[in-house]
Symmetry: C2
């Protein structure tokens, strides 16, 4: 487990808790945001907003498709920054999209084709904040270890910081 | 692990191997069929064929939608037989559908809403037969145990027998 404060200087930070229970293919992320569930949910589902926070800070994100409804597909490409000339594509489909409450979607990094995980993302109100808990279910123990070894935690921390900043703008 | 021969009397049976590794949320099924990969793949993707083998033998299956392509959705209802008045609905989306090789899809039993698993189904030719290996990835250890306790193995065994019979008809 790692806990890192990630809000801008001066504000009271909400920690991002990342847990990778030993011997399981799960990765659990818990994070509170100082915003209403509807606002956070919107940042997770509207492509223009998603492009502003999802991924490491140094990368750019081109969204080709982001159709957040059951049966909808998404595909986006990260590029620039530490990727150099590499264009990293990601794709998946939405199984469940329940406004302000729940998103269940598949996720595939095209650099490791056919290794698909399932992401279950729950939104709930806790003490006037919105708590987002995400369980990633990998298709094998090795797949989770590979993702962690590739620097996934850094991407998660950056994403949560960037989302906090976006929400602070009142979008 | 349980191994049960399941072909009609007189023919050499191919066993259905079901493995539920301790301490994991995985359920692995391996089964060979005396048919070409293209034929088996067709039985997994054409709704009229799927309705003839998927599920326990005593049930009827109504397919509402079965759109086996990336981003396609499916929903079907099992009824009759041991279910009595109950109508059991199942739904999901296809992430990957690669002809004769691979299907990756989500799966939800509507009786346990929002408990979604991922099914990864690989087709390969082994010694002139088609081997189908399916890994089901449950969202928790408890979810897998619940599914096993509900009699899932019986449904799998019946399905594999029925599919063998269907393929023997040369469909």
């Amino acid at each position: 487990m790692s806990t890192t404060p990630d809000t801008p200087t001066g504000s009271k930070p909400n920690p991002t808790i990342i847990e990778a229970p030993e011997g399981t293919p799960f990765l659990d992320i818990t994070r509170d945001f100082d915003a209403a569930p509807a606002q956070v949910f919107r940042a997770y589902t509207e492509p223009k907003l998603v492009a502003r926070w999802l991924g490491p800070r140094d990368l750019e994100m081109d969204i080709e498709e982001y159709d957040a409804r059951p049966g909808g597909r998404y595909r986006y490409v990260h590029h620039g920054g530490h990727l150099g000339e590499v264009r990293a594509g990601f794709r998946g489909v939405f199984h469940t999209v329940e406004a302000d409450r729940l998103i269940i979607q598949t996720f595939e990094f095209e650099g490791v084709p056919n290794e698909v995980k399932l992401d279950i993302c729950r939104f709930s109100e806790v003490d006037g904040k919105t708590r987002v808990t995400t369980r990633s279910v990998f298709p094998s123990m090795e797949a989770r270890e590979g993702a962690l070894a590739s620097g996934m935690k850094h991407g998660i921390q950056d994403s949560m910081e960037r989302l906090t900043e976006l929400l602070a703008e009142g979008v």
